[in-house]
Amino acid sequence: MTRSFLGMPATAPPGVGHLRGSEPFPVAARRALSDAQLRRNLGHATATIRSRSAAVVGEVPDWPQLRAAGRAIKTDTMARLPELLEQLEAAVAAAGGTVHWAADAVEANRIVTDLVRAAGADRVMKVKSMVTQEIGLNEALLSAGIEPVETDLAELIVQLGDDRPSHILVPAIHRNRAEIREIFLRAMPGVDPALTDEPAALAAAARRHLRQTFLSTRVAVSGANFAVAETGTLAVVESEGNGRMCLTLPETLITVMGIEKVIPTWRDLEVFLQLLPRASTGERMNPYTSMWTGVTPGDGPQTFHLVLLDNGRSAVLADPVGRQALHCIRCSACLNVCPVYERTGGHAYGSVYPGPIGAVLSPQLTGVEDNASLPYASSLCGACYDACPVMIDIPSILVHLRGRVPHPKAEAAAMAAAAYTMDHPALYAAAQRAARLGRLAGRRGRGLPPPLSGWTASRDLPEPPPQTFRQWWAER
C-alpha cells in the first residue's frame, strides 16, 4: 500500500465542534475589553493562580530538570506516536477495554452516541474534558436524545448559565460569586431560594444537585490527562471528586482522548504528575488523581471504551515547528501569565483552546486560514514559554504560523488588532513609551514598536521579541 492511499494528514472538519470562532480575534477582543466586570474577574483570578503556582514551583529544587525531562518525553512520544498508540491499544485490550479510533469530531461523536445507545442509556454524566468540548459532544448527544450532565462545578456553572467556558482550568473564571448565585437560582431545579453567594454554600448546592445523578447514571464520559502505552493505564487529574464519581460509579465508562495524550512508560508519570498540579492549580498535588487499567472485576465500571481522536492532530504533527503544540498538558499556566489573555479572557479566542496555547493549537488543528487572526493574538513577550512546564516555545510557533497566514487576511487581522490596541489607553500609552525607547535605541522601524510590532508584522517574520513589553508589563 502506498502512503497516499493511507491518507495524508488532515485538519479538523468545519461545521462540528468548537475550534473556530464566529469572528476574528480583534473584534471579539474589543467587546471583551469593554466589559469591566469581566476584566476585574479575570485580573483577580489570574493573579491569584500565578502567585500560588510560583510558590509551589519554587519549592521544587529540580524543577528545571523536570521541565526538560517533560519536554524530552513529549518529543520522543511525537516521534514514535504511531507505534505508541498501537502499544496502548494492545495494552488496553489486554486489560479488558475496547479501543475505538476516530479520524475526526464527527466520527468520535457517532462512536460515543452509539455506545451510549447500546448501553441503553438516555443520560450520561461527564467529567470536565477539553476534548469533548472540542468535538461538540454535548450537542451531538442532545440531538440524539441523550442528556449530557456536566459534573465539574465550573462546567455546571457554564452549562446552567447557557454559557461558554473561558479558561482551560477554571471554565467559569469570568463569573463572580454573585453571578453564579443568580445562575443557580435561575437554572438549578429544587435549589434553596435562600441560597447565599458564599462559595461554600454554592459548592454545597452543587453537591446536593448532583448526588442523585451520580448514584443513578449508568454511563459516564471522561477525557484523560495521560495514557500509558506500556501498561494501558489511563489517568485523570481533578479536585472535586466528580471525576472519581464518574470513573467509579457507572456500569460503562467511555473515555475520549486526543492521540497526543499517550506517554511511553509508567515511569514517565513521575515527571508529569509533578509538573502538572504545580503549574496548573498551584497545588503540590491536586486533591484526586484516578488511574485505571482496563476493567477490574468487582470494582468500578465493568465496560470500558477508549476513543482515540485525531481531528487535526495529524496535521499538527506534520509541521516540524508547530508539532510541539501537541506536547501541551493543558495546565493553563500560559493563560495565567499572558497579558493579552488577562485583558480579553477566553471567549475572544473563539476556540475551546484559549490563550497562548490556543493561539498556536487552534489554527493548526483547523488549518491556519480558518483561525487567521489567532497567531496575532499575542505580543510575543515570551512569558508563556517561561511558564510552560513542558517548555513549549509558543512565541516561535506564533511567528512561524504568521508566516503561513494568507496575506490579505493577515493584514486585515493585524490592522484590526492595531486598532483595538489604540482604542485602549493603557496599551496605547505603553506602545508610545516603547516607541520612544525604540527610537532612542536606534532600532530600525518595522511597522509599529512593541507591543504593536507583534500585532502588525504580517509580511516580515518578526525577530524574537525584545524584553521591552514584559518589562513594561512588570512595571506598569
Binding site: L6, P9, V170, A203, L215, P287, Y288, G300
Partner: protein, 200 residues
C-alpha cells in the same frame, strides 16, 4: 480503510520517514530512592490541605478512630485489621454493599498502599485493607490509617511502589474546588473530612 488505518497512515505520513528517531530523556531530576522521607514534612503538607492528622502507636488506633467516628456507622473493607475498630462504632462490612447503603454511612476506615511526604498524598490501590474505590468516595468522613514506613519522600518513589494494574486513587486532602473566584472550598463531591492516623 478503517479509521485506525487512516489515522496511523496519516501519522506516519506526518512524520515523513519510516525510521523514528529515538530521543534521549535525561532523568537527572530526583528519582525514586534519592531522598529520605520526612514525616514532619508529610504532616505539615497534610495539615496545609486541611486534612486532620493523628499520630499514635498501633495499640491506640482504635481509640483514635473512636474519637473521630464514635457512635456512628462506618463502612469497612473486608481486610481491615479488626483491632483498629473501636466498640463505639457500628461496623458495616463491605460485602458487596449497594451504593445507597454506602452513601448512607457516616464514614469509612481504610489502610493505604503508600504515601508521599512532599505532596501530602495518600495512595490507595484497592488492596484488602482499602477495598473498592467506591467506599472511600461516598461517605463524608474518611479515616485512613498509615504506617510510618509506608511514607516515601517523592512522587517517583510512590510510582515505583505501586502496581499499575490495580485501580489507584491518589488523595491529597479532602475534596476541594477553587472554581468560584479561586477561593478554596473543602468538600464538593468526595469526603469533606479526611483524617490520617499515622502509626509510629
Amino acid at each position: 480503510m478503517t479509521a485506525r488505518e487512516l489515522i496511523l497512515g496519516r501519522l506516519r505520513a506526518a512524520l515523513g520517514g519510516p525510521e523514528p528517531v529515538p530521543v534521549e530523556v535525561a532523568r537527572d531530576y530526583r528519582g525514586a530512592g534519592s531522598v529520605a522521607a520526612d514525616l514532619d514534612v508529610f504532616v505539615g503538607r497534610l495539615t496545609d490541605y486541611r486534612a486532620t492528622v493523628h499520630r499514635c502507636v498501633d495499640a491506640d488506633v482504635a481509640r483514635t478512630v473512636g474519637g473521630v467516628l464514635g457512635g456512628r456507622q462506618i463502612v469497612v473493607p473486608p481486610g481491615l485489621p479488626g483491632h483498629w475498630l473501636p466498640d463505639s462504632v457500628t461496623v458495616v462490612p463491605d460485602d458487596d454493599l449497594g451504593v445507597e447503603r454506602i452513601a448512607a454511612a457516616d464514614g469509612v476506615v481504610t489502610g493505604a498502599a503508600v504515601a508521599v511526604a512532599e505532596t501530602g498524598t495518600i495512595v490507595l490501590d484497592a488492596g484488602p485493607d482499602q477495598g473498592r474505590r467506591l467506599i472511600t468516595l461516598l461517605p463524608d468522613v474518611h479515616v485512613c490509617v498509615l504506617r510510618a514506613d509506608q511514607v516515601v519522600a517523592t512522587v517517583p518513589d510512590a510510582l515505583a511502589r505501586v502496581d499499575p494494574h490495580r485501580p489507584l486513587t491518589w488523595i491529597s486532602g479532602p475534596s476541594a474546588t477553587s472554581d468560584i473566584e479561586l477561593s478554596r472550598v473543602e468538600g464538593v463531591h468526595g469526603p469533606r473530612n479526611l483524617h490520617v492516623v499515622l502509626v509510629l
